[in-house]
Amino acid sequence: MTPTPSRPLLGPRSSRRLAVLLAALGTLALGVITVYVINALTFASVLTEVTLSTRVRLDVDAGLGLPGGFTLAGDNLVVRLIADDLPVGTRLLVVTGTLLPWLCAGLAALAFARVVWDLGSENPFRPLHARLVVVIAVLWAIGSWVTPQVVRAGSVEVLELAGDPADLAPATDTSSLIITWFGLLLLLAVAEVFRRGARQAHDVDGLV
């Protein structure tokens, strides 16, 4: 019995259009990052994340004068601190925390664009694609887990330079090992699918 061919989600044209869009977004992200870094090195002030102490938080609650039955929720309120005249190293550290996820996303978009370009072709399973998906997995791990550590390190350094104000604490670590590992394993599984697919494609190459 001949199996009915199913219509693919991405045909040759749509996969190439999507790839061009991804490549454009990736290139745009890298361009914006370059401009941002140049600005950070040119201008003295940067924005870093810090958290308000519980005392300030309670003062905010009192100052708001909310009617009965309404209460603000959440502690470690995150605010952004504008810091002027910082050393270049500190500025770069703070800016890296802001830009790292975008850098990872931009590079991942470029790598994914290369994979998507061939998805609608006759031979989407190639060893290169497996390697590119592994690269995307590594970029995901850096973007999701390393970034909060860098943000926190930048925040600690800025607060040290500011003389450690009593009511401000460094940014909290928002990284989630569960989300990082889940995404990483998912992407590595996709890479394995491409690797095995490439091996099978090699096996049937020349089959008549």
Binding site: H202, V204, D205, G206, L207, V208
Partner: protein, 78 residues
């Protein structure tokens, strides 16, 4: 004609489709019509660039040419 490599291990299988077609006065296009196998695939087979052959392809070609697989292929001495 040099037998094709399979990428990992070389083989010494030669296909005699060209001779069988000549003997029967049949063209590749006609064989393609009779077997339902594309001319591209038959050309790959004829020029020893195939690395594997489906039994269904082999059956169709042998039926159309009135031959046995042994007449279609031979293994050249190493």
């Amino acid at each position: 004609m040099t037998p094709a490599d399979d990428g990992d291990r070389p083989h010494r299988v030669s296909c005699h489709l060209d001779e069988l077609l000549t003997e029967r006065g049949m063209s590749l296009v006609e064989l393609s019509h009779r077997t339902g196998v594309s001319t591209v695939n038959l050309s790959v087979l004829k020029n020893d660039r195939a690395r594997a052959v489906r039994f269904s392809t082999l059956t169709a070609v042998c039926d159309a040419l009135g031959c046995q697989p042994g007449e279609l292929f031979s293994v050249t001495p190493g």
